[in-house]
């Protein structure tokens, strides 16, 4: 007998329910409103009185409406067929919903029950297996989708039987397992998992050490993110958070990309819907949508499911990581998620922390980021979740609770800067304030030396020093005036401008410049650093500016040309000619 209840009070989407039996924290219940069932989650229990947050509008809800508790927490359904789908925060397939407008109480099964999958067994009768052991695999958009022992299974099982290679639906039994007590359990291709619990089925979680290529120069060259690493992008509005995030998601070298559009603009999600099916994954040649899952809970959709959406996305990411895949998870924006927490906390009349956010905000963010990571699975394979979240700091002030809470846990920091955005220096990542902690990891450096070149790290540090010097000199020029400083100062400043314009700035809307493979980044960095170390002859500071503008112009034309194409090489020769003019 499941627990039932009656509505006792309503404040916006917070509903007080009197329950007639046991209720669990975070349990899911449905409130019946004239036949429409509204999903809700338990937030607080005081005796028989239960406070629940409703994932829908509560308009028209009355005292006395019936409530049914479901006996489980908010779960996602995991199985083949998740890729290429567009879900809402509660994992309803948006494409299956009818009507132009969202209708409350309309929920659906996220997977296709009819579709037949070509199943190949990986386990054999007699094999000892446990939760997350690979039983077989199906081909999902060219990814080897592993069918695993459900994560909820405890202890060791023996494979009693497994179906031969063939076509099966997700609900067909593919294996029978026998538990330690001799009980048989049937397993199909679908399993469920509560989103707020991490899926921990790996053997070991080492420090991330591999480079995750994004094709964005200001990241890969200046502040690289590691596979399985965490990063965050804070920035005031209009500094290009979303453009940068979309660029990373299109180009990153990942098997699976999950985009959680959390409380952001619907038109930005539409951009993904329109663009991704047309774009090609630069690493595999497959259609970009084939590797992508979009969780769209845009800003006007109910606020409680906005909170759920990031957890839904993370749980799906963990599912694919357990298959030994490289997952990239992007959440835009984690501030909206924090605001959803704040709205509920306020309605529950909890004592507020800073800026009225809940007291445990920082811990909640920390727990969430800790679910990312590079892992060794129990079968020795590796998998990873690289997580990049954006933060929308109120008033552009980085000393606010969400930014501070995130800064403690994320290892890469890509600081978007208003001043850079204002002068259209995109991506507006400040190269000096931003950091990547992974550069300091010896195991990462070792990987980089092999992947790119042994002197790469030294060159990158050299570049950063030049940028820093350029900035200092610029400040002096501003104070003392152009002719108040030696001509050398201008040369130093303009060398840092070459780095800025040629390496750091990148045109996300130009088909060639938008994505720069690491080999090309290496070529350009070598080229630019060579220029930076050259000595030039100048008489006046006016000559310096004109001359370096020409250099920048030619280098930018190179960025716009196909790598090593005739056009590219012509510009390269032109550059050499320009350099020869004044080189000492």
């Amino acid at each position: 007998m499941s627990t039932k209840g009656k509505v006792k009070g309503i404040i916006s989407n917070l509903v007080m329910v009197e329950a007639d039996g046991p209720v669990a924290q975070n349990e899911i219940c449905y409130i019946d409103l004239n036949g429409v069932r509204l999903m809700a989650e338990v937030l607080k229990v005081t005796g028989n009185n239960v406070s629940v947050q409703v994932f829908e509008s509560t308009r028209g809800l009355k005292v006395g409406n019936d409530v049914e508790f479901m006996g489980h927490m908010l779960e996602v359904t995991l199985g083949p067929g998740l890729l290429s789908c567009n879900f809402d925060g509660l994992q309803n397939d948006l494409n299956k919903l009818t009507g132009v407008f969202l209708r409350r109480g309309e929920y659906n099964f996220p997977l296709d029950k009819e579709k037949k999958w070509e199943f190949t067994p990986l386990a054999q009768p007699g094999d000892k297996v446990e939760a997350a052991s690979w039983l077989g695999q199906v081909d999902e958009n060219a990814q080897p989708h592993k069918i695993m022992v459900p994560f909820t299974f405890r202890g060791t099982y023996t494979v009693k039987s497994i179906v031969p290679t063939g076509e099966y639906t997700i609900l067909d039994t593919v294996a029978v397992l026998t538990d330690a007590n001799g009980q048989d359990v049937e397993v199909n291709m679908v399993q469920k998992w509560p989103v707020k619990k991490p899926i921990n089925v790996h053997r070991e979680k080492p420090r991330p050490f591999k480079l995750l290529e994004t094709g964005v120069r200001t990241i890969d060259t200046a502040n690289p993110i590691a596979e399985g690493g965490t990063g965050f992008i804070p920035g005031p509005f209009g500094t290009g958070k979303t453009v940068l995030q979309h660029a990373i998601s299109k180009q990153a070298d990942a098997d699976i990309v999950i985009m959680a559009a959390c409380g952001e603009r619907a038109n930005e999600v539409v951009e993904l819907f329109v663009e991704f099916p047309e774009l090609i994954d630069p690493h595999t040649g497959h259609n970009l949508m084939e590797r992508t899952i979009i969780i769209a809970n845009t800003s006007s959709m109910p606020v409680a499911s906005r909170e759920a959406s990031v957890y839904t996305a993370m749980t799906i990411a963990e599912y694919y990581r357990a298959m030994g895949l490289k997952v990239l998870l992007m959440a835009d924006s984690t501030s909206r998620w924090a605001q959803a927490l704040r709205e509920m906390s306020n309605r529950m009349e909890e004592l507020p922390g800073q800026d009225a956010f809940p007291m445990d905000l920082s811990a909640t963010i920390g727990n969430f980021y800790s679910r990312a990571g590079f892992v060794y699975l129990k079968n020795g394979q590796t998998g990873s979740i690289t997580f990049i979240g954006t933060v929308s700091p109120a008033g552009g002030n980085l000393k606010e609770p969400v930014t501070e809470g995130t800064k403690k846990v994320a290892r890469c920091f890509f600081a978007l800067e208003q001043a850079r955005a204002d002068s259209k220096r995109y991506p507006a990542v400040n190269p000096i304030d931003s950091y990547s902690k992974y550069i300091e990891y010896p195991e990462f450096e070792e990987y980089i030396s092999e992947r790119i070149s042994p002197d790469w790290t030294r060159k990158v540090n050299d570049m950063k020093t030049m940028l820093q010097r350029g900035k200092e000199v610029q400040e002096q020029i501003n104070i003392l005036g152009d002719d108040g400083v030696p001509v050398d100062y201008h040369v130093t400043f303009w060398k840092s401008e070459v780095i800025d314009f040629v390496i750091l700035q990148q045109d996300a809307f130009d088909p060639i410049d938008a994505v720069t493979p690491i080999e090309r980044q290496q070529y350009m960095l070598d080229l630019v650093m060579d220029i930076c170390h050259m000595e030039f002859d100048f008489n006046t500071f006016v000559e310096v500016m004109d001359y370096f503008k020409r250099i920048i112009n030619v280098c930018k034309q190179m960025n716009y040309s196909e790598f090593h194409s005739d056009k590219f090489e012509t510009y390269r020769q032109e550059l050499d000619k320009v350099l020869a003019e004044r080189r000492k």
Binding site: G9, G60, L97, R265, G395, G481, V542
Partner: protein
């Protein structure tokens, strides 16, 4: 509101404060409307048999024995083609002396559009103002506010944009509008002979502030009728959204909610997003474009209202008085239209994106030169030329009195480049320079 025979009348109010009153009642739905001595109110909280009502017109003079009648429905608007050309108050009642509108009754503040059923906006909205069309191109289905100080002529610019935008319908939502501004809009639209395309919902400063909370939803319900049922291109003007947010703060304060930044309710982002996200391009051709005004206090955009708005809307437009030319211009640095790349260089000439960026960059160099000048440093020849360029650019392209088409804007920009700079200084893709540089 007409009462019906079977409705129960309550006459015992237990609690009254400035915006709400509480009474014991049963069988009441959340968000339901009621009348309190004839004044419209809405259910905002139910705890057991205690129902709290937010009285839109304020609770002044409401006695504990006031007659409370629950209407059994959420706020709604009767929609039909008869809306066109009419002026209404916050409740959707005519204020132009005309008859009540007949039509289908729809609840306001309805659900949002399923994101997968939206179409990507792709139609350019031409305004003739180069500060907008060239640098911050608007697209149908977009939502964008003017961030302006109260003394700036935002209502005039907005009216100009509305008249030139070639929308099938213009819905005006006026919140805390001064009577003078209300009459200004009425006159402009009537002089332009477009009154039959306008639907107006107006709450002036003479009306109670809490009533304003209904205006955006009323306006957008009307807009949805024309955009969805009639497949029309609808332009919604919301002025001023800061007054709307102030009303939200008043209500949340009266309900003892914990305020977050700048005394605004913690749900401000969601409240504003619910309105702005109604901007949409439907696949069937209808669209809702929202142009709003958020007034700033002393240009402070870190205040919670402009800050949250900036994160929701697809860009923002700033006005600024340029003392060099004595005109109001659209500030090219801080203004931004996030959807412009969907149309620039696609619906406009190929050189549009690069010309736009180059011009803004040169304008920014001019700003640096100006700083140097103010600090008493000598200017280089390049500095002098950027200053000359900036003045002309401001006058011929940024000023709000410009009215030319986009191709003419681009040609003007190329002329200015050639008059003041070398191609290397302008730094544009060589192919475009070869094609468009004015010898």
């Amino acid at each position: 509101m007409a009462t019906k025979a079977f409705q129960k009348i309550y006459t015992k109010i237990t609690q009254i404060n400035k915006a709400t009153c509480t009474l014991r009642a049963t069988g009441i739905g959340n968000d339901e409307l009621a009348t309190v001595n004839g004044a419209l109110a809405q259910v905002v909280k139910i705890m057991g048999d205690e129902v709290t009502l937010q009285v839109f017109g304020g609770t002044e003079g409401i006695p504990t024995n006031a007659e409370v009648i629950f209407l059994g429905k959420a706020p709604s608007l009767k929609v039909s083609d008869q809306l066109a050309g009419r002026f209404f108050n916050s409740y959707g009642e005519p204020i132009d002396g005309g008859p009540a509108v007949e039509g289908e009754e729809r609840e306001i503040g309805g659900p949002s559009v399923n994101p997968v059923r939206r179409k990507q906006p792709s139609e350019l909205i031409a305004t003739g103002i180069a500060g907008i069309d060239l640098n911050n191109t608007l697209v149908s289905g977009q939502k964008i506010p003017f961030f302006a100080d109260p003394d700036q002529p935002y209502n005039q610019v907005m009216a100009n944009v509305a008249l030139r935008a070639q929308a099938d319908k213009i819905v005006l939502g006026g919140m805390g509008l001064t009577n003078d501004d209300y009459l200004y809009f009425k006159n402009v639209f009537s002089n332009a002979g477009v009154l039959d395309r306008i639907v107006s919902f107006v709450n002036t400063t003479e009306n109670p502030p809490v009533e304003r909370l209904l205006i955006p939803d009323m306006a957008l319900t009307a807009a949805e009728y024309f955009a969805v049922d009639k497949n029309e291109k609808v332009l919604v003007l919301l002025t001023d959204m800061t007054s709307y947010a102030d009303a939200l703060a008043i209500v949340s304060n009266r309900m003892d909610q914990i305020p977050s930044k700048d005394s605004m309710p913690g749900s401000l982002y969601s409240d504003l997003a619910k309105i702005y996200e109604k901007a949409v391009q439907f696949p069937e051709g209808g669209s809702i474009t929202i142009i709003a005004v958020t007034t700033l206090s002393g240009g402070d955009i870190t205040h919670a209202v402009p800050d949250n708005t900036g994160y929701i809307t697809e860009g923002q437009l700033y006005l600024r008085r340029d003392s060099d030319i004595g005109k109001v211009i659209i500030d090219p640095f801080r203004s931004l239209s996030r959807l412009k790349q969907l149309v620039t260089g696609k619906k406009t000439r190929e050189d549009h994106p690069q010309v736009m960026n180059a011009a803004v960059r040169l304008y920014s160099d001019a700003a640096n030169a100006k700083t140097k000048l103010e600090n008493g440093f000598d200017l280089t020849d390049y500095d002098e030329r950027t200053l000359a360029f900036a003045k002309e650019y401001s006058d011929k392209l940024l000023a709000i009195d410009v009215n030319i088409d986009t191709t003419a804007m681009l040609d003007t920009a190329w002329n200015l480049f050639a008059a003041h700079f070398t191609p290397a200084e302008v730094n544009i893709k060589q192919e475009l320079v070869d094609k468009y540089w004015k010898q």
